[in-house]
């Protein structure tokens, strides 16, 4: 038993186990569930019923079986390559997005550390800079898919995606500068622990949303644009360029794009929870003296999951509420409004920190 434990606690194997648990038990199931939930929730918003027909005998699970039905359908569908497409790039393009979406979870802690054991795959020093690097990889998926498909719609979608994502990456980083300044670190664990402080005695937790309200809005907007969801879904643009950059894909590769979208939706939600809503820290839990460690950990996981699900829901709700921006409006909003605002945010934050210090 001890021997087994020793093997498990080897850093490399432990990291693999954490990756498997976090991705296979948290990110992927939630992302898969969201592919259905988006349709169900949008149906509720629009006074419809939503998918409820897939069944085994009499059992439909109120539409739950559609996940299995969709998966089976994509697996058995033909994987087509359009004539004149660049085969290799065309085939690998879907996985850039998926890898980028999944890699976000590498640095997100889902519960507080117990002794030496952390509920986080790795706590790299650059921390959030890693996120920026990884989300830049996301652009490649869209651009490669767009250029290699030999389709004009896909090319347009890829061009739009590259322009939009590169522009919004600029102030995505700048919007987080405030957070870095307030908590004095780029390490995720440092930021999360910094949000466990309180103002006015034990009244208000020092969450990112209270220290950086403008930064929250800016960063959230940037991330929504980065995941290419409404109101910034001009790269997909159903009404004008059919499906944008992944128009030519079919079968499991198309599903990889879809899954990447929903996993990155979960990733965005987890990131927002971690950076602006105290991460895994349950507010005011420190008032409960000598609480058992296992209860604390379970509460932390529950709190983190709850906020993540709420943010997933909020993004879906936003998509079905807000009309799409025209593409020039998207760019105008990014460069002319949000970029100056994030600069103002940095200056104001710096001034406030200087005056208080």
């Amino acid at each position: 038993m001890d021997f087994l434990l020793e093997i498990i606690m080897t850093p490399a194997i432990l990291a693999c186990l954490k990756i498997a648990v976090i991705i296979l038990l948290f990110a992927m199931p939630l992302g898969t569930l969201l592919t259905l939930m988006e349709r169900k929730w949008s149906a509720m918003i629009q006074d419809r019923v939503g998918p409820n027909r897939a069944n085994i005998g009499k059992f439909t699970g109120n539409g739950l079986l559609h996940i299995a039905a969709d998966g089976l359908k994509s697996i058995f569908k033909e994987d087509t390559i359009p004539k004149g497409a660049n085969g290799f790039l065309y085939l690998i393009a879907p996985f850039f997005g998926l890898i980028a979406a999944v890699a976000i979870f590498a640095i997100i802690p889902i519960a507080g550390p117990i002794g030496n054991f952390t509920f986080q795959v790795t706590d790299v020093n650059p921390g959030l800079l890693f996120i920026f690097a990884i989300t830049s990889l996301n652009v490649y998926g869209a651009v490669l898919a767009g250029t290699s498909s030999n389709s004009k719609f896909a090319l347009l979608g890829g061009t739009r995606a590259s322009a939009q994502m590169i522009s919004y990456e600029v102030f995505m980083g700048l919007a987080l500068m405030g957070i870095f300044m307030v908590y004095g670190t780029t390490r995720v664990s440092g930021i999360v622990n910094g949000q466990n402080e309180y103002w006015f005695g034990n009244l208000v937790p020092m969450w990112g949303i209270f220290t950086q309200p403008l930064g929250f809005i800016l960063f959230f907007t940037a991330l929504v644009a980065e995941t290419k969801r409404a109101p910034f879904d001009a790269p997909e643009g159903e009404s004008e360029i059919v499906a944008g950059y992944f128009l030519e894909y079919s079968g499991m590769r198309w599903s990889a794009f879809m899954l990447a979208e929903y996993v990155s939706l979960v990733g965005v939600a987890a990131l927002m929870t971690t950076l602006f809503f105290g991460g895994y820290h349950v507010p005011w839990l420190h008032l409960w003296e000598n609480a058992p460690q296992w209860i604390v950990t379970i509460l932390q996981i529950l709190k983190f999951t709850f906020f993540t699900v709420v943010f997933c829901w909020f993004q879906i709700q936003l998509r079905w509420t807000v009309p799409k921006f025209r593409f020039d409006q998207t760019m105008g909003l990014g460069w002319k409004k949000l970029l100056p605002l994030s600069l103002v945010n940095i200056i104001v934050t710096a001034l406030v920190i200087l005056t208080l210090a």
């Binding site: 918003i45 006074d47 509420t321 807000v322």
Partner: protein, 208 residues
């Protein structure tokens, strides 16, 4: 609310277009988008919450399980009514065949072995694919022998022959449970003791 003003544009005196011009609303409130987004979110979240618990606003009719209420006056598939003694009310007068605009009714009259029945349709076919469901046959009938109150809304079959409704199909396939109008219920009609006694076979000869 944005102010509306109606302007008239005339293009070369040929036609005049009335254009409702909506003035752009500018200002800080519009420029930062957030108030408008929150207004929209309030509406969608309201619908979401109402439908999350119990689907209160959902207007969908789950079709094969639930069916839309059909008005009693809805002209569905035809049926041939029966007399008290179980024979067809139809006297093969050809009124419906004559009035039918799509020529989908085909009747052949014949003498009935039972002397109390004067004349009856040996063949009464309706091609439901040609029928336009105008209801003129029902209005033309002097004996109230043909009706369109079966409440059968959709007829979906896989072969053309299935749409040729013969006399016995028109008479027997009528399901009283499907139609909702009590005025047309057959309940007040006396029922024959055995169905085989009441229903003539396809040759119209009563089974004894």
């Amino acid at each position: 609310m944005p102010k509306l003003n109606i302007c008239k544009y005339s293009s070369g005196g040929i036609m005049e277009l009335k254009v409702k011009r909506v003035e752009r609303v500018d200002g800080v409130k519009e420029a930062i988008f957030l108030p408008a987004i929150f207004n929209g979110l309030r509406l969608t979240v309201k619908h979401f919450w109402r439908n999350l618990f119990g689907a209160r606003d959902v207007v969908t009719i789950n079709y094969p399980e639930e069916k839309r209420h059909v008005s009693p006056r809805w002209r569905g598939r035809h049926r041939l009514t029966r007399l008290e003694n179980g024979f067809l009310s139809c006297v093969a007068c050809y009124m419906c065949e004559t009035v039918c605009p799509s020529k989908c009714i085909h009747i052949e009259a014949g003498e009935h072995p039972d002397l109390s029945v004067e004349k009856y349709p040996v063949v009464f076919d309706i091609d439901e694919l040609r029928c336009v469901f105008c209801g003129l046959c029902v209005e033309a009938c002097p004996k109230d022998a043909i009706r369109m109150d079966t409440g059968v809304v959709s007829m979906a079959y896989t072969s053309r022959q299935t749409f040729d409704f013969t006399r016995d199909l028109l008479r027997d396939s009528y399901d009283p449970k499907l139609h909702s109008n009590p005025k047309y219920e057959d309940e007040d009609l006396p029922k024959p003791v055995k169905q085989s006694e009441a229903l003539p076979n396809s040759q119209g000869i009563p089974a004894t």
